[in-house]
Amino acid sequence: MEFRLDAVIGDLPSLLIGVPLTLALTVAAFLIGTTLALPLALVRIARVPVASQVALGWIEFFRTTPPLVHLVWAYYALPVLLDVRLSAFTVVAGALAFSVSAQMAEILRGGILAVPSGQTDAARVLGLPARSRLFEVVLPQALRLMLAPGCNTLVTTLKQSSLAAVIALPELMNRGQILSAETFRPLEVLTLVAGIYLILTYPLVLLSASLERRSGAAFRID
């Protein structure tokens, strides 16, 4: 069988229908995950008793186990265990968010610890309260160091949104599976799908490079 892209190119719209869901999953998972990551990172840094061990357990669990497992478990096991039936979108966004929270917690922790301790010293002697020290002095400086790894996590999350196909959520990958079955041309269809993922992720890569350049500007000693 030859590779006949022209046979399926006309069906491109039916693939593109899945893109909004792909993006929605990615954004939801990343935002929720990053929000969860901040307290996780902070209790680890401050070594709060009990809380920091719990945080470590959470991070290790979600870093070492595949999101697919969380997804399938949540979708099929939760209703049986807790009599709770979540929507497919919630399940996927939630599973990915927990994975993101584990990755971003470590990225945050690394970024915060990399800010020189003299900054916190100066903020303390000026009398700045802890919240101010964190959000106005430390985090803005940590941000610069977190942009590249953070963007990598965003790209990974976008790719992992394709896992939703296994529970038939109609995002891009799932649309690809459906179209493959309809046209009997999986090779061409999935090549198109891969191309669309590439087009979605590439701007993120460019964005992260540009953000890094821009935010590093104030720190450069010319």
């Binding site: 010293d121 100066a122 002697v125 000026l126 700045l128 101010s132 002095v137 400086q141 000693i221 010319d222």
Partner: protein, 254 residues
């Protein structure tokens, strides 16, 4: 120039793990006076300043400012009678906030802690920047300033909070030699205007000109104390003599 007792340090002990860095330090500082602390590295000078600034917990002893507790090993819960910003500190590595302009560096704490409005804080900041000779640098970012300028900005930032006591921790040690003078000049002016200050430094010229007393520390203890003329010319303790001859002999001074 001596006034009432402002700072009182009694039997201060500080340990890092099993190492005792401060071994029972007693120190009195009169209001309006300038005290210079000298000593070999590892003598605990910087640690002493950090303990006074409450950047480090103490193992034993008390630190009191104007009769109120700054830190005390016994009264851990109550030792907050003195506000953090009553004691200002300037660091060897400047520690300006790199992501903020000089002006924002100065106004951040007054606005958050003292509740000053933006306009009032900026007005005060511009006045102080003029005093330290940085009026035209208000909108600049720290990375664009020379080391001497950054340190002067750091001094202005500390002064914004109107501290009762200023601590200077080797503030010129990281500067190129030609930039040291401009910072010392600001400190001299500050002292003349009556600021109580504790200065850890290797600048003996400054100590001679500005200090009311010079304190020599070694191995976590105060070894000797006296007016600069007396201490430099006729040190009583052998360790003081040894340190001074190494220090002054090296530069070919006297």
């Amino acid at each position: 120039m001596t006034g009432e007792l402002l700072l009182s340090v009694r039997q201060l002990v500080k340990r890092y793990g099993s190492t005792t860095v401060l071994d029972g330090v007693d120190l009195d500082v009169a209001a309006g006076s300038a005290l210079v602390i000298i000593g070999p590295s590892g003598s605990g000078k910087s640690t002493l300043l950090r303990c006074i600034a409450r950047l480090e917990p103490i193992a034993a002893g008390t630190i009191m400012l104007d009769g109120k507790f700054v830190a005390s090993s016994e009264r851990v819960g109550q030792a907050q009678a003195v506000a953090a910003h009553d004691i200002g500190m300037v660091f060897q590595s400047f520690n300006l906030f790199p992501h903020l302009t000089v002006l924002d560096n100065l106004t951040l704490a007054p606005r958050r802690v003292l509740g000053l409005g933006r306009a009032e804080a900026e007005a005060r900041a511009r006045d102080l920047l003029a005093v330290v000779g940085l009026a035209e640098k208000a909108e600049a970012y720290p990375a664009k300033l020379s080391g001497g300028q950054q340190q002067r900005a750091a001094i202005a930032r500390a002064l914004m909070m109107r501290p009762r006591l200023m601590l200077f921790d080797e503030v010129t040690s990281a500067l190129d030699p030609e930039l040291v003078g401009e910072v010392l000049k600001v400190m001299r002016t500050l002292s003349r205007e009556g600021m109580t200050m504790l200065v850890v430094t290797h600048e003996m010229g400054f100590a001679r000109d500005v200090a009311d007393d010079v304190v020599f520390m070694d191995h976590g203890r105060v070894v000797e104390r006296g007016p600069p003329d007396q201490l430099f010319a006729a040190p009583q303790e052998p360790r003081t003599r040894a340190f001074l001859s190494r220090l002054l002999g090296r530069d070919g001074d006297e």
